[in-house]
Symmetry: C2
Subunit: 239 residues, 2 copies
């Protein structure tokens, strides 16, 4: 076993010298929580989840990384706030298009799906918990539509839960898939690879997967998502 241990001693580090932050001049106005969230979204969208560090965020905001903690409790809260901001913006685009309830449910669902698709990192951090305004807006929109549809009160809670769970569940699954398509592979390439694997499976053990393997590469995630919504709606019985 080696007898060498390490201790730190003050000295000039050439690495630190070379990489000393060439930061622009300090900001003059105070930071705001919203500015931080928007900057975080910009980093997440352009460079992905791994690139969102307090140091990178502080650099973009021309401030020290400790400053962020004055406005946001920690990284988890930052991610949650960024995700909810996206969801909220997505519902609001559909808020005024209210027409027939089923159409409205479809519109809200697609808005969430598209938002998750455009910002795949949103899928990581959600779940119902107090203060998620965006999620609450979606919850209300779907629930209100069920009332308008005339679903009897005793069926409403389960129907609402199924829809809302389906919407967020599928949207995040899809986002997770989108997340792993970024280096080298395309979505088509990934699906083709999976289809090939499924096509080679044992026919006795995996007859169904072999059968549908061919459908995989060409299919439209968005319309398949919508087909699921329609399936749930078809199971509902308005009185």
């Amino acid at each position: 076993m080696s007898a060498n241990y390490w201790i730190s001693v003050p000295f000039v580090s050439t690495w630190r010298m070379a990489n000393k932050a060439p930061r622009a001049e300090r900001r003059t106005e105070a930071l705001s929580r919203l500015q931080i969230i928007e900057a975080a979204i910009a980093i997440l969208d352009s460079q992905g989840e791994a690139a969102l560090t307090f140091r990178a965020l502080a650099a973009r905001l021309s401030t020290g990384f400790g400053a962020i903690y004055w406005h946001v409790a920690n990284k988890e809260a930052l991610l949650a706030a960024a995700a909810d901001h996206i969801v909220s913006a997505a519902v609001e685009t559909t808020q005024l298009t209210a027409t027939e309830p089923r159409e409205f449910i479809r519109a809200v669902s697609l808005a969430v799906f598209d938002a998750f698709d455009a910002h795949p990192w949103v899928g990581i951090q959600l779940s119902l918990s107090p203060g998620r305004v965006g999620m609450m807006q979606v919850f209300e929109a779907i629930g209100g539509s069920l009332v308008a549809l005339g679903i009897p009160q005793q069926d409403r809670f389960d129907a609402w839960s199924a829809l809302v769970n389906y919407i967020f569940g599928v949207a995040s699954q899809n986002a997770a898939n989108a997340r792993r398509v970024h280096e080298g592979t395309t979505r088509e390439g990934l699906l083709t690879e999976i289809a090939e694997r499924w096509g080679e499976l044992d026919a006795a053990q995996y007859p169904f997967l072999r059968e549908i393997a061919g459908h995989l590469p060409g299919h439209d995630d968005r319309q398949q998502f919508l087909a699921g919504i329609d399936l749930i709606l078809a199971g509902l019985n308005p009185r």
Copy 2:
């Protein structure tokens, strides 16, 4: 600006002396991938996601942390393999109970739901990608049941996708909720808190959420999950 930078110099560190791993004697047999995955599951189940580090895993396996890289590519692959192992074990318990197709779909769905509930960390890392045996088993079980149910070929792909997406989507959402119930709060406490918030919402903007707030604390996630499955099944038209 401070002129102090830091460089490392070999010396005896008292911290390292005090915390030197009091590890048991080295293992004699070679590690296996399965052993690593099982040890990872044990840590994830007992101490949660944050506790799974290569160093902790190596300590439990009485080996060096570098050894793990010989068997597993990286942490992402380790998490994915652990999650798939759980899913696979869950389906296998239902594999022989095959009765009526709808009953079988319910049984497989509940097995996945319960597995996610017992191992909430499973929700983090899944998504279809080559080589996930557990997911493939669920996919096949659901698809085969749809064939047995007599769902026409042109509807099968969408119906299968809706079910499979619902199952994994909702199970992971539920697991995410379970994950944030661990310190101080109980599930009941969390739901009661949310219900209270929803009950105080503006009646004009959130009429539905106010209405269902009361249903939240007492409801059974498992049976509500099943109600969603039934809703999708009800929308299907066997010929």
